[in-house]
């Protein structure tokens, strides 16, 4: 009896972790809404620092990092209890960040300071600050960990950072107001979305040259409203889903031909997104309508919109 107690308690404790969840930061509510993927309902709301935006989990999902932009800090939270463990020095106004594959270094875009800050999450100290263009936002790290990318919204560039020397080694122009950057899983391509330009530029990682450009056109919506921001690749990398901001649509892009195959109607001003563990469902954050739309990836159909807090911004999967 006594011997089985620890096992029993382990079972009880590990039960909540069994159900996969989507964590959504609510920019105006200073909270995180936790959506249970099985029931498609909000099961928890957790208070955070001021204006939470970027959100990402550590590799083992034991910690969650949150950019609390107006608190000028990155918060580290225990996802089990929802308690803030400690803050990380982040530089001013952290907006988006990315965790290096070494699970230790956070690359943070400081929107107001025109720098990218590298923070060691173990020693909790800033190990480098790299000058980049004005209003840095989009952040990405190549799968091999050798290259970090910062996009600057006003300079309209993708800045290529060597993660060893922590120096810029290339700057490439993109269209107006780049918001988000992402490497393909193999790392051979870098995609950068331009919100005002209304395009996604695809780069060859090896040569840092432009390979192609994706343009969007939603029927019945003025081109000014078609503003690509966040995007994600499907498991086979043949398809990308692109959030098109105030056009209230998500584009389905053929990642090989770079052609748009479909547009899916979602909530108002869609910016970021996260997949379910098997990538069969996609969750998009709709800022203005304050909800998260669930997309059936295979059918390319919106199936439900779930009310969350005010102005949902970032989304991350907790399997």
């Amino acid at each position: 009896m006594l011997r089985s107690l620890p096992l029993l308690s382990l079972l009880v404790l590990s039960e909540p972790a069994m159900a996969a969840e989507i964590w959504v930061t609510n920019e105006k509510d200073d909270t995180i809404s936790v959506i249970d993927i099985a029931s498609l309902e909000v099961v928890r709301t957790i208070p955070t620092g001021e204006r939470p935006r970027g959100i990402t989990f550590s590799k083992d999902f034991s910690r969650v990092y949150i950019c609390a932009s107006d608190s000028d800090t990155v918060q580290v939270m225990d996802p089990e209890t929802g308690k803030i463990l400690h803050d990380l020095p982040s530089g001013e106004d952290p907006e988006q960040f990315v965790l290096h594959p070494n699970d230790r270094h956070l690359y943070i875009a400081n929107e107001d300071d025109a720098v990218t800050t590298v923070v060691d999450t173990e020693t909790r100290s800033v190990i480098a600050q790299i000058n980049v263009g004005i209003e840095p936002e989009g952040m990405a790290v190549s799968p091999d960990g050798k290259i970090a990318i910062t996009t600057s919204e006003t300079t309209n560039m993708a800045h290529w950072i060597d993660t060893e020397t922590r120096q810029l080694f290339a700057n490439t122009l993109v269209d107006s107001r780049p918001r988000h950057a992402e490497f393909t899983a193999g790392g051979s391509e870098l995609w950068v979305s331009s919100e005002i330009g209304g395009t996604i530029t695809v780069f060859d990682t090896g040569t840092q040259t432009e390979k192609g450009k994706i343009e969007f056109e939603v029927q019945g919506v003025h081109p000014d409203r078609v503003q690509p921001v966040g995007f994600e690749f499907t498991a086979d990398e043949k398809t990308a889903f692109v959030a098109l901001g105030p056009s209230n649509h998500v584009a389905v892009v053929n990642a090989e031909t770079l052609e748009v195959e479909d547009y899916i109607l979602v909530g108002r001003r869609v910016w970021h997104m996260a997949f379910s563990p098997d990538k069969s469902l996609l969750f998009t954050t709709n800022g203005v309508s304050g909800d998260v739309t669930v997309i059936d990836v295979a059918k390319r159909e919106a199936i439900k919109s779930i009310k969350v807090g005010r102005f949902p911004w970032g989304a991350a999967l907790r399997p």
Partner: protein
């Protein structure tokens, strides 16, 4: 076969024959809602999405919203059309022939109602087949759940037609019915706009829409198409249907009804 069933078969067969014979009527019944869908709804496409109201789970375009309302429109116009043909029958004398049958009059009227509803339902499914080709599809469960909803809504609107036809003396008066019954019923319902949209313009319009039996018929159809159940709409549609049927039976009763008073 018992006489009641013979009568039922004969009346349905006559309606079916009339329906097959008037292929243009079938095409017209199909073209009307398709025009609304493709031309009218295109103007209000709402590419940015309509707000979520039950039974919708997420944002929809106007084209998707309007489909159940257009199904209701087919039932409504068909109900009226069959009442028009009743007036015609009465003018031509075939109605008298029918009503001289020894069977109870309510049964004859009910058979007539069933026959016209069956034809309406065929037309609704034909319309849905075209909308599916157009790109607006529903789940298989939705198409199945739709059938009972169409039966109830179709009987109610058919009963409305019957009740009206008992008060119409001549074919020419039918235009009045169009103006004073069909159009207000159609426009003051949730067929074209959600209730919240009506409330935006006027509370009075919203309240009229909310009590309009056609609204409930449309909502019954709308929920059924999404394989959901709307108890309030069912209750309201059934009650109205029964009241209208009673009125029609009373109207056609030679001892008390309108038929005698007018003839």
């Amino acid at each position: 076969m018992i006489p009641a069933l013979i009568a039922l078969r004969a009346i349905i067969a006559r309606e079916a024959l009339r329906f097959v014979g008037q292929r243009s009527r079938f095409v017209a019944a199909l073209v009307r809602p398709l025009l609304w869908l493709i031309v009218f709804a295109a103007g209000f496409r709402a590419a940015l999405g309509l707000s979520i109201t039950p039974p919708y789970q997420t944002y929809t375009t106007y084209e998707v919203y309007i489909v159940p309302g257009l199904c209701g429109m087919i039932l409504l116009f068909n109900g009226m059309q069959s009442s028009l043909s009743l007036v015609y029958d009465r003018e031509m004398g075939s109605m008298r022939l029918l009503l001289t049958s020894p069977l109870p009059r309510w049964w004859l009227l009910f058979c007539r109602l069933l026959a016209s509803t069956a034809i309406s339902i065929l037309q609704v499914y034909a319309f849905l087949a075209v909308t599916a080709l157009y790109g607006i599809q529903f789940s298989a469960a939705g198409y199945v759940a739709l059938l009972p909803a169409l039966v109830i809504a179709g009987l109610m609107l058919g009963a409305l037609g019957l009740a009206l036809s008992s008060t119409i003396r001549q074919l020419e008066n039918f235009a009045g019915v169009m103006n004073f019954v069909i159009f207000p019923m159609f426009f003051l319902s949730t067929a074209l706009y959600p209730l919240w949209k009506m409330a935006e313009s006027s509370e009075l319009l919203h309240d009229i829409c909310a009590v309009n039996p056609f609204t409930h018929a449309v909502e019954l159809i709308r929920f059924a198409l999404y394989a959901q159940f709307n108890g309030m709409a069912l209750l309201w549609t059934t009650l109205t249907g029964l009241v209208l049927l009673a009125l029609a039976i009373w109207g056609y009763d030679p001892a008390r009804g309108m038929v005698r008073r007018k003839s």
